[in-house]
């Protein structure tokens, strides 16, 4: 796994799970955003620039009114980051 712990200023790959099939402009928040639906849940995966962007995204989700089921950190820029294709986590 990663050699260094995640710091607040690093890009990182996250997976979020929301209640409901939520349509929104996720590309505004996540570069390489992948959106999938699992039943009536929305699974988002993509890279945030840093923690400020992640918290902006969480506020955005709060304002959408979509209950948040899960925020999962996957990996960040480090040795194995480049080898983590988004699809592998879906």
């Amino acid at each position: 796994m990663n050699t260094k712990p995640l710091s607040a200023d690093q890009p990182a790959l996250y997976c979020l799970r929301l209640q409901g099939r939520v349509q929104a402009d996720w590309g505004d928040w996540l570069s390489d955003a992948a959106v999938n639906y699992d039943g009536d849940q929305t699974i988002l995966k993509g890279t945030v620039h840093d923690q400020s962007e992640l918290f902006g995204l969480l506020s955005f989700i709060r304002d959408l009114g979509a209950p948040l089921l899960l925020v999962e950190y996957i990996t960040h820029q480090g040795e194995d980051y480049e080898n983590q294709p988004v699809q592998n986590h879906l």
């Binding site: 710091s7 607040a8 200023d9 690093q10 402009d25 590309g27 505004d28 928040w29 570069s31 620039h49 840093d50 923690q51 400020s52 962007e53 918290f55 902006g56 995204l57 969480l58 506020s59 955005f60 304002d63």
Partner: protein
């Protein structure tokens, strides 16, 4: 007067001399001036504000920069934008005055319009201007985000925004990033690298740390500036080795560790002071002394400032400060851990008391809610709602009141009444009744009990009457005549100094005066109405009730018009407009414009009339002032009628019929029938006339006077002059008895025509001669012009009967004004060459005739507004006219418009 904005929030932060220069970041910020947006987004403690402030202080080339420090209470859109504009005004005193006035008058009802006004002003900027919004993450209102997005999308080239925030705002950043429409500075850019950390610790703080120690610090804090700052404070005058031993060995989170280190290094009084004052959003010596009980507050603030203890001055006078946000949060956390709850509550209680004395009631309420002491918070709203009114801070009052859970509002009837008045004054009609119903629940009575239960106590009766009085303003409660009579009787029966629920005024006096005016107006006791509205002005001015004052003035003007005191009415309107000059967009003004339009129309100044009707209509639509819409649109329709544009007038009336109020329905229907006749649809107007019961024509009421004037005109057109004359006799007696000389003169003028139509020419002439002195005194013109050729001939006759005098001069003036209209028609019919209009010009002319604005035409034809203006200018030249209305009328007369139906009576 507006709610006082807190000036310290508009202060560009000072820069500490010990700052590390960061030229690369300054360069990035500089590049941001080529884009609309600079985004500085990083967690707390990364030096966002300091970076931007130091860049602004260090810049040499001209840039006007304004700074706004936001806080949580700025989430009300109208307050946010008021601060926004006030901030702009710190560098451009004259900027945003219109937008500010619109906000002051209406709150957040139509922000796109307000912002458009602002954008237009920004577009005229000669030099670059940067507005910094610090702590934008505190803004959680999606309405504000949306407004800001709108502003950013339309920001002129010389205007720039910088947002300093802990989290990315939802402003479509990815799109802006991709289009290079913003410059971003993020945590990775802001963190100190090894060399900056060395510079900071060893040069600025003179700590002489070894490279290895600096590396440890840099790693543990991850270049986090506040962390390094706290570490530097802890290391001051201390053996570094000891510090690093515990620092590296401690596995608490770095902030907890460092704040404790910092606090332990302080003397007991300083530590206490820091913790106790951490509850304050802003600190001043007197406030701190009150909260801490420490009379040395002034000295302690100086100590904190000298020791770099994260105290940021908010003005140049060393009066107000705030703590660095993160530091304050850490202090508050320590406070919660180390102080008993009751003691913290005591601090908030003291702060709330201080703010109450300073009359910053919103802050007093916020601290009371943190105690938490909801009883005190509610008491404050109840006691000081009048202060909110005096300060014009009505949206804040509504916001504070709405914090009370709906189920508990009925326990606070006075707050409910204040909130109802405040919602009414800010045109939030839909919420007013909720507050009124809570009052009714409080007394377990319907408000109508005030009218039906004879043994109701005085105080309850006054409260219930206040509810009924407020409801008079609501479209959902159209009053019946019986209701109004009963209400007036009860209002009159109240002792003059009986207190009402809402204590803005000690009693209901101005409200009673205003409503007596309204009731008198509806009853047709117009002179009484005028004196009641005059009284309303005096009383509401005394009590500082701005809302009633303006409303009273508008109604006074309309009562004076009805009384035929046209010049006095004009003065009332002009004074009202002048008083409102800084608020040139206040909704009340739509009523004054309606009145002025009517006056200028009567004086045959059609251009001025058109201008006022349109200005009023814009305002009425903007703020949905339903009561002024009807007179405004009727006025416009009459203007159009004068020019033969009956169809356009009918369209206006159609719009009115669709969403009008019952009491004016007859007026609109009657005028519609008249226009239909003029427009060639005789059958429709005859059919409508048949629906009016014959007996009602024998019993006109003050409310249907305007409608019956049009019925009389229609009867004359239908060759039924005898019936018209009978109706007009009744009408003029009724109007005269109520002193409504405006209606009286109109009724007599039409009667003259009806009599002539019956062949009674000498009687007609006699009638005309009798009303001429009255009409001359106030300069009546259009009343006669509108009745056409018959009246012109009678005026010719009249001239020969009057010896040279002022009256004769007046008659000649009327005769002279008959002429131009006649010429226009002759011109079209006698084959003056028809102007050559291009297809596009004809197309635009047709749209002009439909009443579209330049902007709407541009949108319809998908061409630029400049092109539209050019075409319109060409059309004016070719037709030899100077206004849109003239153009349409003229073109109609020349048969240039596609659907020409132009029967003449």
């Amino acid at each position: 007067m507006l709610a006082p904005l807190i000036a310290t929030k508009l202060h560009l932060p000072d820069v500490h001399a010990d700052l590390i220069p960061r030229p690369q970041l300054h360069q990035q910020l500089e590049a941001g001036l080529q884009t609309p947006l600079i985004l500085v987004s990083a967690p707390p403690g990364f030096g966002k504000s300091m970076l931007v402030a130091s860049w602004l202080h260090a810049r040499s080339s001209p840039l006007q920069a304004a700074w706004l420090s936001l806080d949580e209470s700025d989430n009300a859109p109208d307050l946010f934008w008021r601060y926004f504009i006030a901030t702009l005004q710190t560098v451009h005193a004259e900027m945003g005055i219109t937008a500010q006035a619109m906000l002051a008058a209406t709150g957040a009802l139509d922000l796109p319009t307000v912002l458009t006004a602002l954008i237009n002003e920004l577009a005229a900027l000669q030099n670059p201007l940067l507005l910094v919004l610090d702590d934008y993450h505190l803004i959680q209102s999606s309405a504000i985000h949306e407004n800001l997005r709108f502003l950013l999308d339309h920001l002129p080239a010389n205007a720039h925004l910088a947002l300093l925030t802990r989290e990315d705002p939802p402003l479509g950043l990815a799109r802006r990033r991709a289009r290079r429409q913003m410059v971003e500075i993020r945590a990775a850019d802001l963190r100190f690298d090894q060399s900056e950390a060395t510079n900071f610790l060893n040069n600025t703080h003179k700590l002489a740390l070894a490279p290895k120690q600096i590396e440890t610090l840099e790693q543990r804090t991850e270049g986090w500036i506040t962390g390094l700052q706290m570490a530097a404070l802890s290391l001051q005058g201390r053996d570094p080795a000891q510090f690093f031993a515990s620092f590296t060995g401690d596995d608490r989170y770095i902030t907890d560790y460092l704040i404790e280190e910092v606090l332990q290094r302080q003397s007991e009084p300083v530590r206490e002071f820091l913790l106790q004052t951490s509850i304050l959003e802003r600190l001043s010596a007197p406030l701190c002394a009150t909260v801490t009980g420490n009379l040395n507050a002034r000295d302690l603030l100086d100590v904190l400032e000298r020791a770099n203890l994260f105290l940021i001055p908010l003005d140049n006078r060393r009066e107000w400060y705030r703590y660095h946000h993160l530091f304050a949060e850490l202090l508050r956390q320590r406070l919660r851990e180390t102080f008993p709850k009751e003691k913290i509550a005591g601090l908030h209680r003291a702060a709330s008391g201080w703010y109450e004395i300073e009359r910053d009631i919103a802050a007093a309420i916020r601290h009371a809610r943190q105690v938490p002491d909801e009883i005190r918070a509610r008491h404050l709203i109840e006691r000081y709602s009048g202060v909110f009114f005096q300060q014009g801070a009505l949206p804040q009052l509504v916001e504070m009141a709405e914090y009370i859970p709906p189920g508990e509002r009925e326990n606070l009837p006075r707050v409910c009444a204040a909130a109802a008045w405040a919602s009414l004054a800010t045109n939030q009609y839909d919420v007013v009744d909720g507050w009124l119903k809570a009052i009714e629940r409080h007394f377990s009575l319907p408000a109508s009990a005030a009218l039906t239960a004879p043994d109701l106590g005085l105080a309850i009766r006054a409260a219930m009457l206040e509810v009924l009085v407020i409801r008079l303003h609501l479209p959902a409660y159209p009053p019946s005549a019986a209701h109004l009579t009963a209400l007036r009787k009860q209002l009159n029966a109240l002792p003059p100094e009986q207190p009402c629920l809402f204590n803005i005024s000690a009693n209901l006096k101005p409200v009673i005066a205003y409503n007596q005016g309204l009731l008198a107006e509806i009853d047709g006791a117009t002179a009484l109405a005028a004196s009641a509205f005059n009284e309303t002005l005096t009383l509401s001015l005394e009590r500082g009730n701005r809302f009633l004052y303006h409303l009273g003035r508008a109604h006074l003007a309309s009562a004076q018009t009805a009384l035929g005191q046209l010049h006095a009415a004009r003065q009332t309107c002009v004074d009202g407009l002048a008083e409102n000059a800084p608020l040139s967009a206040s909704p009340y003004l739509s009523l004054l414009h309606a009145c002025l339009g009517t006056l200028y129309y009567e004086w045959n100044d059609l251009a001025a009339a058109e201008q006022h009707f349109k200005a009023g209509l814009d305002l009425a639509r903007l703020w949905n002032v339903w009561e002024s819409r009807v007179p405004l649109m009727l006025g416009l329709a009459r203007l159009l009628q004068r020019n033969g544009s009956f169809k356009v007038g009918l369209d206006l009336l159609e719009e009115l019929r669709a969403n009008s109020i019952e009491s004016l329905a007859l007026t609109i229907q009657a005028y519609t029938a008249l226009l239909q006749f003029l427009n060639g649809n005789r059958a429709a107007s005859v059919a409508w006339l048949a629906t009016i019961p014959a007996e009602s024509l024998l019993e006109p009421t003050p409310a249907n006077e305007p409608a019956f004037l049009d019925v009389a005109r229609l009867l004359i057109h239908l060759q039924r002059p005898a019936e018209a004359a009978a109706l007009l006799e009744k009408l003029s007696i009724l109007a005269h008895s109520g002193g409504r000389m405006h209606t009286f003169i109109q009724a007599r003028a039409i009667l003259v025509k009806a009599l002539a139509g019956q062949g009674k020419t000498s009687v007609a002439l006699n009638e005309l001669l009798q009303i001429l002195p009255l009409a001359a005194a106030e300069g009546y013109l259009s009343t006669f012009l509108d009745e056409g050729e018959t009246l012109r001939l009678l005026f010719h006759e009249a001239r020969s009967k009057i010896p040279p005098s002022e009256l004769r001069t007046y008659v000649e003036e009327v005769l002279a004004t008959f002429a131009p209209g006649e010429k226009l028609i002759v011109k079209g019919e006698s084959g003056y060459g028809t102007p050559e209009l291009s297809d596009r010009e004809r197309e635009i002319l047709t749209l002009l005739a439909e009443g579209l604005s330049n902007q709407e035409i541009a949108e319809r034809l998908v061409i630029s507004i400049t092109t539209v203006k050019t075409h319109v200018g060409n059309i004016f030249n070719k037709l030899g006219v100077t206004s849109r209305l003239q153009a349409v009328a003229h073109a109609d007369g020349l048969g240039l418009l596609p659907r020409r139906q132009f029967p003449r009576s």
